[in-house]
């Protein structure tokens, strides 16, 4: 078997990528992952000698924005190379084959590369109605996912759908869309790498997958299973409007002076202080901009359940405390009002009683 397995380098050459482009790609990758130039050689060496790891890209209940983001990676070379590495196998949106031929590929990979392929999942399986809300190749996606997950080496959960559930899992979640790690359950023993965002940033996606393919190991993950290299800081920690936050200069209304001057968007509900993502450093569309730079607050798209966390335009968002669905300040001010009024009334009553008692004596 080993003689038939190609290296990444061989695959790339077969795909028409020149050696020059290959080397460029290696130095680019080294830079993107924050390594020194010396690492380019290591990456090149690894790709020339190591048998390639196949990547299967499955699509469940989703809108394809993760794929759309992915193919817009800033550096066309990176995109071409990475795509050439993965589209070979299975990605029902961008692969060449279709129908039974395509489904046969899955079977073949599962068998030939048992325990040795990466399963990238975009979207998630809906579990209600026996999974009928998402049918792939004649059977529920949940079945396909479970079946392919069995022999995978690791799983990448692309986007907020696969990682957390996203919009299709928002209340009341009629199809019971379930994120990948919850669907597979605690008994699943392979690493699951969450790359949340709606969609995730292209460079984050290519960065994660390149790291895994070239170094043949999973990136270091945080408590929630996200790669630390892209998700260890909040938008707020690296936001270029942060000096205005610290100074106390805010956009109070959308068309005010502060909005024109680019003040901090905290008071109009920016979720930057509660959102882990790389937008304020990597930015979007080839590093052009990101929501805050365009004048709108972050809506927290890479956070768990962000659709159900109340207003995008207030920091005092709806919560469910003691069975009451309201914001913390609404609950709190009401409680303070009631207790305050009760204290005053009680004080008055006490005074009356005390006076009566005196009179009685």
């Amino acid at each position: 078997m080993s003689s038939q397995v190609e290296t990444f380098y061989e695959v790339m050459r077969r795909q028409g990528i020149t050696r020059r482009s290959f080397l460029k790609y290696c130095s680019l990758t080294a830079a993107a992952l924050g390594f020194g130039p010396a690492y380019a050689n290591k990456i090149a060496h690894a790709m020339e000698t190591k048998p390639r790891t196949p990547v299967i890209w499955l699509h469940g209940l989703e809108c394809t924005c993760c794929s759309e983001s992915f193919i817009r990676s800033a550096h066309p070379l990176a995109k071409d190379v990475v795509l050439s590495m993965i589209s070979l196998d299975y990605d029902d949106t961008i692969m060449a084959s279709a129908g039974h031929q395509a489904e046969a590929i899955l079977e073949e990979i599962k068998e030939k590369y048992k325990g040795n392929y990466i399963l990238a999942v975009e979207g998630n399986p809906p579990l209600n109605q026996d999974g009928m809300s998402c049918i792939i190749g004649g059977r529920p996606f949940s079945e396909q996912l479970k079946w392919m997950a069995e022999d995978a080496k690791a799983i990448i959960s692309w986007g907020s759908c696969a990682s957390w559930g996203c919009v299709q899992a928002a209340k009341p979640n009629p199809t019971q869309a379930t994120p990948v790690h919850k669907f597979l359950g605690g008994g699943y023993d392979k690493p699951i790498i969450k790359v949340p965002g709606c969609p995730p940033i292209a460079e984050v996606m290519t960065g994660v997958i390149t790291y895994m393919l070239t170094f043949d190991r999973i990136p270091e993950l945080d408590r929630q299973g996200r790669p630390k290299m892209f998700y260890s800081q909040r938008i707020h920690d690296k936001c270029y409007r942060r000096p205005h936050f610290d100074a106390g200069q805010f956009v109070e209304e959308w068309d005010d002076e502060g909005a024109r001057k680019g003040y901090c968007l905290y008071k109009v509900g920016c979720k930057g202080p509660t959102t882990y993502n790389a937008c304020s450093t990597v930015r979007w569309n080839e590093g052009t901009s990101f929501p805050i730079q365009a004048g709108h607050g972050c809506i927290g798209c890479s956070e768990d359940g962000f659709w159900d966390k109340g207003s995008f335009y207030s920091r005092d968002t709806d919560m469910n405390a003691f069975g009451i669905e309201a914001t913390a300040d609404d609950i709190g001010k009401t409680a303070v009002g009631i207790v305050g009024a009760a204290a005053v009334a009680h004080a008055a009553m006490s005074a009356v009683k005390a006076a009566q008692k005196k009179g009685d004596k």
């Binding site: 945080d222 408590r223 929630q224 630390k228 260890s232 800081q233 909040r234 920690d237 000096p243 205005h244 936050f245 610290d246 100074a247 106390g248 200069q249 805010f250 109070e252 502060g258 003040y263 905290y266 008071k267 979720k271 202080p273 509660t274 959102t275 882990y276 927290g300 956070e303 768990d304 359940g305 962000f306 966390k309 920091r315 005092d316 968002t317 919560m319 405390a321 914001t327 913390a328 300040d329 609950i331 709190g332 001010k333 409680a335 303070v336 207790v339 305050g340 204290a343 009680h346 004080a347 009553m349 006490s350 009683k353 005390a354 008692k357």
Partner: protein, 228 residues
């Protein structure tokens, strides 16, 4: 509670010096935390001019975090004292609902507050109703604020910092960061409700009950107004 017969007793030493000192430092810390916390959640109107001319939010947050350290260290010290102080030092941290006498005292106190009794019972330490409020609103409230507060603080100081290592796990327990903010924000109101009730009742008891209240937290001695 643990009311031995108080007939004929003039005064009892209740609050030892560390408890009294902690009480007043804690009060100051809570005032600073409450005010600065409110303005972190609902910032003051925008300052004009260059960003480099101001550091208002920065200062407010600095005060919040400084008071937070005092509050948290004080709370830890208070727990320590519960083990090594007199038996009154422990009353704050548990509610003896398994004791019939506690329930009896509670109902008694309730009646007194509903004006159904013309005279309250005497208590060396806390009365049962006060004990209930102190435990559920102040003790649990403080624990909520310390855990959520340091979890949020650890988000700013970043992975690898002590706060993040020690309290980072709190974030996924509540869901995500925004949920932790919401609960921390709700905590302000829980503590505020407690403070209103606590201050009102302490003053009222000082005037209307048969024993001293406010001065007890200053001198440590509980004076009884009658010898019955």
């Amino acid at each position: 509670m643990s009311d031995t017969n108080l007939t004929g007793v003039e005064k009892v030493y209740v609050y030892e010096a560390p408890v009294r000192l902690w009480h007043w430092i804690n009060m100051l810390a809570i005032i600073v935390l409450g005010v600065t916390g409110y303005f972190i959640g609902n910032p003051l109107p925008t300052m004009s001019g260059e960003a480099s001319d101001h550091y208002l939010m920065g200062t407010i947050r600095f005060l919040h975090f400084s008071a937070a350290y005092i509050f948290a260290i004080g709370f830890a010290g208070r727990i320590y004292w519960a083990f090594f102080g007199n038996h009154h030092a422990r009353e704050l941290f548990y509610v003896p609902i398994w004791r019939a006498s506690w329930w009896q005292g509670f109902i008694d106190e309730l009646k007194w507050y509903l004006f159904l009794k013309s005279e309250p019972a005497k208590h060396e330490g806390h009365n049962p109703m006060a004990q209930l409020a102190m435990f559920f609103m102040f003790v649990l409230g403080s624990i909520l604020m310390i855990f959520t507060g340091f979890a949020l603080y650890g988000e700013g100081t970043g992975p690898g910092s002590w706060a993040n290592s020690l309290f980072g796990w709190v974030i996924p327990v509540f869901g995500q960061s925004q949920d932790v903010h919401s609960w921390h924000r709700l905590g302000l109101w829980i503590i505020t409700v407690f403070v209103i009730a606590h201050v009102y009742v302490a003053i009222r008891e000082d005037i209307m009950s048969r024993q001293s209240m406010v001065s007890t937290m200053i001198s440590g001695w509980r004076y009884f107004k009658d010898k019955r």
